[in-house]
Symmetry: C2
Subunit: 314 residues, 2 copies
């Protein structure tokens, strides 16, 4: 059975844009929604007022078309934003980094909830709690990541739950989309490729770094803190790793060193102090394009592969 992500979420293409803190604002989210995908505003650690403003601006651009808010469950403003999405009648909520305690309330308010999950155990838990779908995100992804790779995670999550699964992590072109369908997913979530979208408002330095990056340009930091983050290898990530290995630094000191680094990358393009989140697929990303061009190109490539797939039949 082909689960229809497009029908469930009211979108043209079964693609979600990743909720990336300091990056996924109204500009990117509305461009993705207007291009036929599901645009997602990342709440990150921002206060509710900021997120409300982003929702209003997104609505100005997309009219009645669907979009989502990605709520980071570790945010100090998580409770406020959990209420905000209800008040603002946001159609879809995507959650990351934990199990969403507000889920019953959201579902009661008619919101479709799509948790990003790193394992079959969490997928099963949120499916029982009423999730509309899950994003099975492999360790190839940028930002906060789990340990299991997409190729291993997606089929195992598909076997574990009865709700639709979107694949994320390592998907940068039509090959990744077609592969995701073969693994059992009904759609994809893509982050890194949208970093270089024309409508993505990050600093030009950030986009240049992504375009220049290769398959081995990323690393994870924060493993010792229990929440690894994948980003481009830079002076910042090397220093962060050195701090983690420094027995004279407390975990709090290590954590404090990273404060503000995402903003310094996204807003200031700060080579030295910024943390430039990226997935391992960055080596495939070679030029800036509009969200509409990115989505149409990816699905056109996927369609060609899927139409020709029978040539591989033994």
């Amino acid at each position: 059975m082909k689960a229809d992500i497009c029908e469930i979420f009211g979108i043209k293409y079964p693609i979600f844009q990743g909720g990336m803190a300091w990056i996924s604002d109204w500009s990117l989210a509305s461009a993705v929604t207007n291009a036929g995908g599901l645009g997602i505003i990342a709440a990150g650690n921002a206060p509710a007022e900021y997120v409300r403003d982003q929702i209003i601006r997104t609505r100005e651009q997309v009219g009645g078309k669907p979009f989502a808010v990605n709520i980071m469950l570790l945010s100090p403003f998580c409770d406020d934003i959990a209420q905000l999405v209800i008040d603002e009648k946001v159609p879809v909520v995507v959650t990351g980094a934990g199990v969403p305690k507000h889920m019953a309330k959201w579902i009661e308010a008619g919101i479709k909830v799509v948790p990003v999950v790193p394992s079959t155990a969490i997928a099963k838990l949120v499916a029982r709690m009423g999730a509309a779908a899950v994003v099975a995100e492999g360790g190839e992804a940028g930002g906060h990541v789990g340990d299991t790779g997409t190729m291993a995670l997606v089929p195992q999550v598909c076997d574990a739950v009865d709700i639709p699964v979107l694949a994320a992590g390592g998907i940068g072109d039509g090959r990744g989309i077609a592969a995701a369908f073969m693994l059992g997913a009904s759609g994809v979530q893509v982050g890194t490729r949208f970093l270089v979208a024309t409508e993505c408002t990050i600093h030009e330095n950030y986009k240049k770094k992504i375009i220049k990056a290769s398959d081995i340009s990323t690393m994870t930091t924060g493993n010792s803190l229990g929440h690894p983050v994948r980003a481009l290898k830079t002076a910042f990530t090397r220093q962060f790793l050195a701090n983690e290995r420094n027995p004279d630094m407390t975990l709090e000191e290590v954590e404090a060193f990273g404060a503000g680094a995402l903003r310094m990358a996204a807003v200031d393009g700060d080579d030295k102090n910024g943390c430039f989140m990226s997935g391992q697929i960055c080596g495939l990303v070679t030029r800036e394009q509009s969200c509409a061009d990115i989505i149409q190109e990816m699905f056109s490539e996927a369609d060609d592969l899927l139409r020709g797939a029978s040539k591989w039949v033994k």
Copy 2:
């Protein structure tokens, strides 16, 4: 263009069986070759005499059908085995963990060389050196692994080289095979699923552990030594990790702690001291089957998916 792995290597199904030290012996290799894949004898750290014996026994089982020897380039017996495969006219050599310095000599002797690569840079290097194909192995795999996940690695390696690419890491059923084709690979290498093959001679405890394992049952150790190894989480891996983090232990002491652990898992099934190598796809492996059944089932599943792939066209 569809690269024909079957034609190049003289096999029926485009599947290599992973070369796993202490595991991939004549029994497993010959069963895979007789089932239509490419069986591979793992030389591991064993001396040339052992490998010669394995080659002779494999030939007794497969007659003139092709098989390979996997040469671990870090082995103390690497030079001896490099000559042995020439003397024994082994048709295919697969190499892991480094750049094969004996490559020109092998190619001159008519041997097809297939390096396992963790990055586009090494793929390009071995392609220039005359490799017949590469195995792009993602970090989901068991044993010695790189950092990049299969979903991100395979398309980037396919773009980087003109020779055929086999995908490895996270492939345990037909979904993985079909996905690998979509990513641009012309075939697959599978390790973990063959651990539970009837013809695999490892200890019964090892097979039971694989069958019981879930998506989060593995971890990597040895990161601080520069050569991470993925295995099932056990008392051994936890202690190895603790040793790595112990500032009072030298790298040599940490390394010495792991000596013999693969043998203790494969031969003795030793719960406490063994290192049970496994890929992240172990959660999909649910029963013992013959190599022929495994291969036929995997390709039958893949064929169904590939035939039906056009239903996903947008």
